[in-house]
């Protein structure tokens, strides 16, 4: 569906871009694109949509060149940007109809269905909407024409947990319909939740492309235990520290193993946290390099 070959973009003034990004995204999969802010996620997306031109390298979507065939590509792409900026003076309904009119196919049925699912009042002016509601407008305008490829750039920011749920259900349904989804995010848990495969990007370079299950296996947890005891066997344990009656460490083994370790201790209190993406990068890849 999407194939990029050594896609590179330098910005002027030495701003970070992307370097040699090569990806191969299959039809029908939900492909996660994850990395910290500023890693090059939006640059990649904007290059794919031809908002910006690559410095070198090339890419195709459905076999069509992202520069020369951009208009043809965009007939079949729905895009939800990270920042939602819409025409404030328009009403939601007028805007959605305007957006739909760029596409040949009939979008009204799907539009109504989406409006109902996302519980949006379409008579209001866009400038009067909350951030979350603007996001809904952006979601509807992207999905109403039933695109073959959906490109999402940080789509859940601003949505409350309930709406996030609805959104993920929607995306899953789109996948069932046959759509391919390119999901860019800096939040590992949401990528983990719906993606089949994931590419990790850092400083403009793809570090790794993996099945989400494999990433999960190597997934680290931040553990902090209030206990007088010490842990003897430090397999799968990194950054082991003891202070103020607590031990803390990063655990890279399975949850089952973790429970076995915990069962040998006198546990007075316990917190298990998801490490930040940066921490996962550090621990997971440090370990790989060793």
């Amino acid at each position: 569906m999407i194939k990029t070959t050594n896609l590179t973009k330098y910005y002027h003034k030495n701003a970070r871009g992307i370097l040699d990004v090569s990806l191969d995204i299959k039809k029908g999969e939900i492909f996660g694109f994850i990395g910290p802010n500023g890693a090059g996620k939006s640059t990649t997306v904007r290059t794919l949509l031809n908002f910006i031109f690559p410095t070198s390298g090339s890419a195709t979507i459905q076999g069509l060149d992202i520069i020369n065939d951009s208009v043809e590509i965009r007939k079949h792409v729905g895009y939800i940007p990270s920042e939602i900026n819409l025409y404030g003076d328009m009403t939601v309904q007028d805007f959605l109809d305007y957006a739909g009119a760029y596409h040949k196919n009939d979008f009204k049925v799907k539009q109504k269905e989406l409006i109902k699912k996302l519980e949006l009042d379409t008579s209001r002016k866009i400038s009067d909407l909350s951030f979350g509601n603007k996001k809904k407008v952006a979601i509807i305008q992207a999905l109403q024409q039933e695109p073959d490829l959906i490109i999402l750039d940080e789509p859940t920011s601003g949505l409350d947990p309930l709406m996030q749920n609805t959104f993920f259900t929607l995306i899953k349904e789109e996948q069932k319909r046959g759509a391919t989804i390119f999901f860019s995010s800096h939040i590992l848990s949401e990528v983990q939740r719906i993606c089949d495969r994931v590419a990790i990007i850092k400083d403009g370079k793809i570090i790794k492309v993996e099945k989400i299950d494999d990433i999960m296996k190597a997934r680290a947890k931040k553990v902090r235990i209030k206990t007088p005891d010490d842990i003897k066997d430090l397999t799968n344990i990194l950054e082991y520290k003891r202070e103020n009656g607590h031990v803390s460490f990063v655990f890279t083994g399975s949850i089952d193993q973790l429970f076995k370790i915990l069962s040998d201790l006198k546990v007075e209190d316990l917190t298990i946290e998801e490490p930040s993406l940066e921490e996962i990068f550090m621990h997971y890849y440090d370990r790989e390099e060793k």
Binding site: Y11, T43, R46, L49, N50, F51, I52, F53, S70, V71, E72, R74, K75, V77, Y79, P81, E83, N85, L86, Y87, D89, M90, Y98, A99, A101, Y102, H103, A138, Q141, A142
Partner: protein, 267 residues
């Protein structure tokens, strides 16, 4: 492209109405002041005679200038300037904002994700600018038609030139402003540059008619091209000026279009 034009026209409609009311209102006001002043012209001419000839010429008066006892001459001195200056400002504002506003407001991300080429975005917007400017001048032309036919002997050619010569100046300013807005997308900055050109060119026009040594400057200001004196006395726009104007419009738009097609648009 029809979809874009329709929507763009709607988004700009309110400002179009406002500017049309201001421009045609001022023109009408000045025209209908004519009967009240007509009788007092003898005194005015005495008063004006104390000014140097060059000064009078700069404002279209004096021996070779316009006859203010005639409605066409009166309008040339007392209303046409508003149409040129305010119309020119509107054109510059419109031209400078029509593309850059999408980038400044970041709505361009939405627009460019839709299946429309940049060429169509560009020319769709240019068409909206042209439609808006034609509409402004059309309304002014109706006001002039009524005024000229009731206050004097109707002269079709002079009426036509007074009505639509400003369109030429407006298109020049709109095209230049649009070209600038490709480089500078911050609305406020591009607006001040565009208005600076509109006012600056007028100052150049004044200087070129006030000082003989700076006469060559007249080729650089579209105010000169469509000056009321040519309209009333020659009843034409000089072909050279017409060619310069069209060349400026075509080159500005052509350059802007080529740049816009290849521009990185990251908001």
């Amino acid at each position: 492209m029809k979809n874009l034009i329709k929507n763009e026209f709607k988004l700009n409609l309110r400002s179009l109405i406002l500017w049309t009311v201001i421009i045609s209102g001022l023109a009408t006001l000045m025209l209908f002041l004519f009967p009240a002043f007509k009788d007092a012209f003898d005194q005015i001419e005495d008063l004006l005679s104390i000014y140097p000839q060059e000064f009078l010429e700069a404002f279209g008066l004096g021996a070779d200038g316009l006859d203010m006892t005639d409605i066409y001459g009166w309008f040339g001195v007392e209303g046409y300037l508003f149409v040129m200056l305010i119309g020119g400002s509107y054109a510059a504002i419109l031209g400078s904002s029509i593309l850059s506003k999408e980038e400044d407001d970041k709505t361009i991300e939405f627009l460019l994700s839709k299946p429309i080429s940049r060429t169509k975005v560009f020319f769709g917007k240019v068409i909206v600018v042209i439609i808006n400017l034609v509409l402004v001048n059309l309304v002014v032309s109706i006001a002039l038609l009524i005024a000229f036919s009731t206050l004097g002997e109707f002269n079709f050619v002079v009426w036509l030139l007074y009505s639509f010569a400003p369109l030429l100046l407006q298109l020049v300013f709109a095209s230049l402003a649009l070209l600038i807005s490709i480089f500078i997308t911050k609305s406020r900055q591009v607006l001040s540059i565009a208005l600076g050109i509109t006012i600056g060119m007028y100052v150049i026009d004044l200087i070129s008619s006030l000082t003989d040594s700076a006469e060559f400057l007249k080729y650089f200001t579209p105010y000169e091209y469509i000056s009321a004196i040519y309209i009333v006395k020659d009843q034409q726009i000089k072909p050279l000026y017409l060619i310069i104007s069209i060349a400026v419009i075509v080159i500005s738009l052509g350059t802007a279009w080529r740049l816009y097609k290849k521009k990185d648009i990251a908001v």
